[in-house]
Amino acid sequence: MALVAAQNLSKSFGETQALSDVSIAFEAGEVHGLLGENGAGKSTFVKILSGVLAPDRGAVEVDGNPVRLGGGSRSLASISTAFQELSLLPNLTVAQNLLLPRLPRGPLGTVSRRELHHRAGEILDRWELEVPLDAEVESLDLATKQRLEIVKALSRDPKLLILDEPTAALADTSWLFQHIRDVTSRGAAVLYISHRLAEIRELCHRGSVLRNGAVVGQFARGDFDEDSVIAQMIGRSFDATFPPRSQGASEETALRVQGLSVADSPVTDVDLHVRRGEVVGVAALEGQGQRDLFYALYGLRRVVGGTVEVDGEPVSVRSPRGALHAGSGIALVPEERKVEALFLELSSQKNLTVPIISEIAVGPFILGSRERRRAREEAKRLNIAGDALERPVGRLSGGNQQKVVLAKTLLTGAKILLLFDPTRGIDAATKLEIYDLVRRLAEDGTSVLVYSTEIPELVGLCDRVYALYEGGITGEFSGESLSEDNLLGAAIGHRRHGESGSAAGPAADPGHPERAVASAESDRTQESTT
């Protein structure tokens, strides 16, 4: 009998079926890997298992007994989770966070600080983490927060430990892997979620692949084949994904950035350029300053050094408004579409026309016919369903929402597009459409700078890719040298600017970048700890 079994879990949010009929059994002592693209349903699965969300259908059994779901994480003592988005409270101390919600009480009924620190100290010692107990979590760096989140989950001694992208901010995984082995050797199960295949391969006994909310494949340690796993994840073989590159961009430079430094960010002295009609990528691991770089170009960060030229003319972009009017226009597709890009209560049509509101108006009055026409044209170009235009954009599926974001950005008429992770959390079909769109735009003379968390995507889509590491450009790759291994090598800080060529990290296996991550990262740790 399985230690913990998820049975036929289904969950939908409005029109989006986040999870349909997912069943996975976790055996004692095993590490179960869970793979899937952004938006495949991993987070929803985790939230249901950890008791935070109630499923629409299905059950979870622990030792054969069904448990109550959706009652909050404290209702499920036997399952504990290190959440991807971290469940730490920034305004509480390390010790308080570790023992929440059952802080030890003293004789007066108040929380006993001494007992709290004693117990929290024991936990930190046991899991080999060194953090001041009374530091507010807000003051910790991201990697320490991630470790703390993991320790918090470990310390509950659960029967099932869920680790959701636990290495997103960790350079060194040996600490984590060692403790995962401790946990399984004591007979607990671990659900390990990561998009780094190398980690899955190293750690997991068995695994499942999720796509569009359903389990589409399973694998065991012996038969782990990366190509087929990737094919299962994205729903087709990898090479078929990307449209052909154009026949070389023009020589004119549309965007030139020299010596750019951004306030309160790692971004220092960045040089890059994008030619007219070129698709240029930025490859970086989490938190290397890519967001600051993109947002600075769009006027959302304070630039403290360097110059930005658009069409050969120096510009000073201080606001998104300024960016849209700089030269032929710079527009951004931001990272979080629901928080940054969409007016959720407004219809798609109104979303589309907000940036061009003065173009569809005569004086102060909006011309309904002109608005509809402009919106329809653009919707048609992006293949947005007709009746989606009239509906509040918050109720559309992720893929349609992202198309609305793109359409809205394109309607501004800007000739330089900054795309920040444009395929995050959307279905494979829409991804394909977006790749095609980007290529078509480039052929029409639009210049594109794109960042993606998926390095293969950059390799497939871009003419040229920069690697960004700790706020600086560590490599530039195009043509022959544009490979996932080269990108990864540079993205983890291996090579300095100007170099390009072959050879990547030691354990590198050409074809799929994730394989190189773990080993290369441990190299980096050796370098940086000296």
Binding site: Y295, P320, P334, L344, E345, N400
Partner: protein, 378 residues
């Protein structure tokens, strides 16, 4: 696993092919627009409530009663447009009463001291809009939470009025105002009602059909999104408070004429009813959702109920109790109409779902990109 199958599975969740049946869905999608259903329900209740007034008095329903409700509702309705617009933009305004008073007292004092009525009214409205603009600048440019900023301007204005009007507890209304808002009639209908009809038309046009109105909706839906979409968010926000101030000013002038004079408590009874009317009318207190048509419905509903209570021998307090209950009812009603992304959720289902407490599939984590919204509830 071919590319073909994945395309199919990918688009399976999206209903309706492009361009299919646009005519029948137009009406349906209009009805589905956030706030539209709510406004319809509120108006339906108003239509039922007026004949139902017979329960409290055999003299009801009557044309006289309807006229009364419309006149009394007009003052509230004008002020509520201002509050509603501020709330729609994601803000809050506690300066309603003080600005109404300031406008009425200013106009009264100006004319009393020998100024012309027309100029007095214009200057009073400018003063009111100016006070609103001050609040707006504090909120938009100094990033003071709207709650605090409007609280402060309201307090300052009421203190200043007290000081400047020492020795003049009340200012008489200029004769022209008395004639228009007090006794004037056109085609047998009070001028106030004509004026209000005109105001509603202008207000609805401003809110629904102009670029400024659209920008207000956009800002209310998300300041960050609006900023990233290239909107001049600060100017829009400051402008909203100025327009709101202007509305309170107009209400102040109307009230001065209606009650033949302006004393220092002219606007006192309008803060809560105005906010209540806005909430009852289906404007989301979080901003970004609601219509003025709904707000006028809310105004009329509250006024009808108040009118009915006054016709009974019940204490005036019951009117307030009922107002509060209506506000609560409207809030619970709006729960049923669902949030974005969540679709329609019955109350019971929502209660059950609360285990999740709004923890969606993707936690929305707005990072402090540029100016973050610092309003109430944020």
């Amino acid at each position: 696993m071919s590319a073909q199958t994945s395309v199919e599975s990918g688009s399976a969740g999206q209903p309706g092919a492009a361009g299919a049946r646009s005519e029948p869905s137009r009406l349906r999608s209009f009805m589905r627009r956030p706030g539209v259903m709510h406004a319809l329900i509120v108006w339906a209740i108003v239509v039922v409530a007026i004949p139902a007034s017979r329960i409290v008095s055999p003299a009801f329903p009557s044309l006289n009663q309807i006229e009364n409700i419309a006149v009394l509702g007009a003052f509230l309705g004008v002020a509520a447009f201002g509050v509603g617009l501020v709330i729609l933009s994601g803000g809050f305004d506690l300066s309603v009463s003080s600005v109404i008073t300031a406008s009425g007292v200013f106009a009264g004092a100006y004319v009393q001291n020998g100024g012309s009525t027309a100029l007095g009214i214009v200057l009073a409205l400018l003063v009111a809009a100016g006070i609103g603009a001050c609040s707006g600048i504090g909120v938009a440019y100094l990033r003071i939470p709207p709650f605090i900023m409007t609280l402060a301007t309201g307090t300052i204005v009421s203190g200043a009025l007290l000081g400047l009007n020492a020795g003049h507890p009340s200012r008489p209304a200029p004769q022209a105002l008395r004639d228009f808002f007090g006794t004037g009639r056109l085609l047998g209908i009070p001028d106030t009602i004509w004026f209000f009809i005109g105001f509603v038309i202008v207000a609805v046009v401003l809110q629904q059909l102009t670029t400024h109105g659209r920008r207000i909706y956009a800002v209310g839906n998300g300041e960050l999104v609006a900023t990233l979409s290239g909107l001049p968010v600060r100017a829009v926000t400051a402008g909203v408070y100025a327009i709101a101030g202007l509305c309170y000013g107009i209400a102040g002038i109307m009230l001065t004429g209606y009650s033949s004079g302006a004393n220092l408590s002219l606007g006192n009874d309008y803060l809560l009813p105005a906010i209540a009317a806005v909430v009852v009318g289906g404007v989301s207190i979080k901003g970004g959702r609601g219509t003025y048509v709904g707000v006028v419905g809310g105004t009329m509903l509250l006024t009808t109920v108040g009118n009915d209570i006054s016709a009974t021998s019940l204490a005036e307090g019951w009117k307030q109790v009922l107002y509060g209950a209506i506000v609560l009812g409207a809030l619970v009603l709006s729960l049923g109409s669902g949030e974005s992304g969540g679709g329609r959720l019955g109350l019971r289902r929502r209660l059950r779902r609360q285990g999740g407490l709004g923890v969606g599939p993707l936690r929305e984590r707005p990072e402090p990109v540029g100016p973050g919204r610092a309003g109430p509830g944020s």
